[in-house]
């Protein structure tokens, strides 16, 4: 399964990834509509939040709107979503996002657009070959 990965050592904090993501999926430049968020926690290195496809949200969704596709990526079927935001509250990484302009929450689906635009190769799509055990849900 191919998921997004981030190297904080290479990140310069330009946030082009955020702009690219929101442009791609919401047709607007707005970090609040990005599925990747670059954060400064006051540490030496920056920190990025995005979905690692752990799948904890699938279990908490009451309508089976969340599912794992053939690539192993966790996806949301908008038609089945009732906007309860249980997934947003339960994501162990805080990587399921919600914006007032759209009923359904959104998340990284490893499309790779941000990877192409990152000026310092801090982002990559990597293969987690063992689909049977995605990253365990750890407290954020």
């Amino acid at each position: 399964m191919k998921v997004l990965s981030y190297d904080p050592e290479l990140c310069v904090g330009c946030c082009v990834c955020e702009e690219t993501c929101s442009e791609t999926w919401f047709k607007v430049v707005d970090s609040e509509k990005s599925s990747i968020r670059i954060q400064d926690d006051g540490q030496t290195l920056l920190h990025a939040t995005f979905c690692n496809q752990c799948g904890a949200c699938i279990e908490v969704c009451p309508t089976e709107a969340l599912y794992r596709d053939k690539r192993g990526i966790v996806r949301l079927r908008k038609k089945l979503c009732v906007g309860c935001l249980s997934c947003v509250g339960f994501c162990p990484y805080g990587a399921m996002f919600h914006h007032a302009d759209q009923e359904e929450p959104f998340k990284c689906i490893a499309c790779g657009k941000c990877v192409a635009e990152c000026p310092n190769e801090a982002l990559a799509i990597v293969d987690i070959t063992d689909i049977e055990s995605p990253p365990p849900p750890q407290p954020a």
Binding site: C84, L85, S86, G89, F90
Partner: protein, 716 residues
């Protein structure tokens, strides 16, 4: 809706309408269905209804008030069943926002009952266009009522082929009315069962479609016998279909406010439920061990508060039995997710013997009621009684507490195998209890008598079997005609009031003060208790006006709750409710306003009881088993505690007294305490000493309507 290859049902009445979505939580119309003359109409929701009665129980009371006469009985055609969720009902973002209230005149109490229920019917009814439904009259033959929101059509249809019991009728309706899985998502059914035909304690089952199990699930409007009213009206089912539910189905005034609070609440549940009540794992079963440890678990008809076998039915057991990893909320977005099931259970008796079924529960009340209160500690027996009560449409609480009464009468020699038709109904005999359940459902044998409820059983046992009237009065755990729910109140004066000073009867939804009182001693004086018996019933009433579940208020706590000024009120959660209510309706309210809203409805309900011929001071009398030890063995089981009280409170020396003398002294004291509690509470509530709301109270609350004042004036 597509008709399949089934014989079409004869339509007795049809009403078409334009489905208009809710705005700020209201559709502004209610649906009126009359089964006697087969008429269906729309009625407007007035400003008075929204301002003063809010929704849910408030709407139910208001509509029922205008539907009945002073002398209307539960089985008169004028009696209604009214179902309403409330403006916040149907919200998906905030956990526990899908509840409904059902209001009717009760076959057990002869006054108004209001019964709280989950499942999808109320919110889907709203999204099908209706803030409430009134069912009045009686059909000539069994019917179903179908509210088709997307089709804009309401019908009364003959349904001779439809089953009556809840499991079969739901499967029948799914088969008749749906083709694909998706058709079932936004459909809900209200049904009862043959137990509601043949007892006074019929419940209503409200369905919701469990997508992961691919089967219907059921929540209950358990208390008061409203299922009996449904079947008396010859209704087999109410069916609603709505358009798909969305996050903005209520078209709230401030969606972002709701979203913010909803996400915060989901996170709180994610972070803390595992280490608090573990609702997501064991539901309300966590209460069994806590109650047992505090001597509050009803055992053997409330004689005792604990039992060494309690661990056999505590949450450790149920966390294993309940299917894991499913979303067990009874409305979308409830991440507290407490409504678990035992899957693949195979009953050993009755019509489903040998067939695997899904059993909704057991909840704490069922564990206490049909379990410990009857001396039964086998999980399988409890699950089977849970299943059949649901299927037959019978309240597990009234069945449990009623059977506990029967068992004590049996052990006291008032009943014997001859009188019970061969049922050896001593405590712990689950086989006999199950057989009794089936007899009650079918209206056979001793079941016919037990199905009348404790109040009428007492009378029967005195008249037909020569029982000592004082003894059966003391041990029959009913008040106002309704069986008690499952908490031992002997050592908590506040909770004696919490049960006794209710409008509907001894149901814990009004007040649950045992910990505050007995365990933490936070309300020592009469005034403290009266204040608690004002605030908590009022606050707890509020949930039922709006469509909220109470579990989300205090069965999960924010981490800093203990440091707040009044931790028992859970102030952060109260603020959450203010935010959701204002966010949906656009009506800015404060925490204090919530109490005023409830006071209005609560006082109105009290006046309604008075109008129906009850509702005064003596209506709040309670059986002595709920106040103190009735029998010597009960006294002896807590002798140290009671002896100490005789010394400290009454200055008596227990050493020189017989058990009977000590019991008599304690009884006189405790009964007097309850009367003094009544005085303090009535004063705090703005009522006379006869429990009649004063005109100035009604005026202050804006419900001094001429017909309301006319009721109380007679007693002032």
């Amino acid at each position: 809706m597509t008709e399949k290859t089934h014989a079409p049902r004869r339509v007795l009445a049809e009403f078409t309408y334009e489905l208009a979505p809710a705005q700020r939580g209201y559709t502004d119309q209610t649906l009126y269905v009359n089964l006697s003359d087969n008429t269906i109409s729309a009625r407007p929701v007035t400003d008075v209804m929204k301002d003063k009665f809010i929704g849910g129980r408030g709407f139910g009371l208001w509509l029922l008030w205008h539907a009945v006469e002073d002398d209307t009985k539960w089985d008169d055609p004028e009696n209604e069943i009214i179902i309403s969720t409330g403006p916040c009902g149907g919200t998906t973002q905030y956990p526990g926002s899908g509840k409904s209230l059902v209001v009717s005149i009760s076959p057990l109490t002869d006054v108004v009952i209001d019964s709280n229920v989950g499942g999808h019917f109320g919110p889907l009814l709203k999204f099908a266009g209706w803030d409430a439904i009134e069912i009045q009259g009686k059909a000539e033959e069994d019917v179903i009522v179908v509210i088709d929101g997307p089709g804009g059509r309401v019908t009364i249809e003959e349904a001779p082929d439809a089953p009556v019991d809840t499991y079969p009728v739901n499967h029948w309706l799914i088969e008749q009315m749906t083709e694909k899985e998706e058709d079932r998502y936004f459909m809900s059914v209200v049904s009862a069962g043959t137990g509601a035909d043949n007892t006074r304690m019929g419940c209503l089952n409200f369905s919701y479609y469990d997508r992961k199990r691919k089967a219907p699930r059921f929540k209950q409007a358990g208390r008061g016998g409203i299922g009996t009213v449904l079947r008396d009206k010859q209704v087999k089912a109410l069916v609603v279909k709505s358009p798909p539910v969305r996050s903005d189905s209520n078209h709230p005034a401030d969606p972002e406010r709701i979203t913010r609070v909803g996400i915060k609440m989901h996170k709180e549940i994610h972070d803390y439920d595992d280490v608090q009540c573990r609702m997501r794992h064991g539901g309300t079963s966590y209460l069994v061990q806590i109650m047992n440890d505090h001597d509050l678990l009803p055992v053997n008809n409330y004689k005792y508060g604990s039992h060494p076998d309690a661990p056999k039915i505590n949450s450790t057991v149920w966390e294993e039995r309940f299917a894991k990893g499913l979303t067990d909320g009874c409305w979308y977005g409830c991440t507290l997710s407490c409504t678990h099931a035992v899957d693949g259970f195979v009953p050993r008796t009755g019509p489903f013997k040998g067939q695997p079924v899904i059993v909704d529960g057991p909840e704490y009340e069922t564990l206490g009621g049909v379990g410990s209160n009857c001396g039964i500690f086998d999980p399988d027996d409890i699950v089977e009684m849970n299943f059949y009560c649901d299927n037959y449409g019978m309240d597990t609480i009234s069945f449990g507490t009623g059977t506990a009464f029967v068992m004590e009468c049996y052990e006291a020699g008032i009943l014997d195998e001859e009188k019970t038709g061969g049922l050896a109904l001593h405590f712990g005999n689950a086989d006999a209890a199950l057989e009794l359940l089936h007899q009650m459902a079918h209206g056979e044998g001793f079941g016919k008598i037990a199905g009348q409820g404790i109040r009428r059983m007492k009378q029967h046992f005195v008249e037909a079997f020569g029982a000592d009237p004082q003894f059966v009065q003391d041990i029959g755990m009913e008040a106002k005609g309704l069986e008690y729910s499952e908490y031992v109140t002997k050592e908590s004066l506040a909770q004696q009031g919490g049960y006794g000073l209710t409008n509907k009867g001894p149901q814990h939804d009004e007040a649950w003060l045992i910990f505050m009182d007995q365990v933490n001693n936070q309300i020592p004086t009469f005034e403290d208790k009266a204040e608690a018996l004002h605030y908590y019933p009022m606050f707890r009433t509020w949930f039922g006006l709006c469509g909220f579940c109470k579990v989300i208020w205090n069965d999960i706590l924010p981490p800093d709750n203990a440091e707040t000024d009044e931790p028992a009120k859970v102030p952060e959660h109260v603020q959450n409710f203010v935010d959701i209510f204002s966010g949906v309706t656009g009506r800015e309210v404060t925490k204090e306003d919530l109490i005023t809203m409830s006071e209005t409805v609560y006082n109105f309900q009290r006046v309604f009881n008075i109008r129906l011929g009850h509702g005064r001071r003596d209506h709040d009398d309670i059986p002595y088993r709920s106040v103190g030890p009735v029998t010597a063995e009960e006294y002896e089981s807590r002798a140290e505690r009671y002896d100490k009280q005789l010394q400290e409170l009454l200055g008596l020396d227990p050493a020189g007294m017989s058990t009977e003398e000590k019991m008599a002294a304690l009884r006189e004291h405790r009964e007097d305490q309850y009367e003094r509690l009544k005085d303090a509470v009535y004063a705090r509530r703005g009522w006379t000493n006869d429990a009649v709301p004063k005109v100035e109270t009604l005026k202050k609350l804006g419900i001094d309507f001429p017909d309301v004042v006319a009721v109380v004036e007679k007693y002032l």
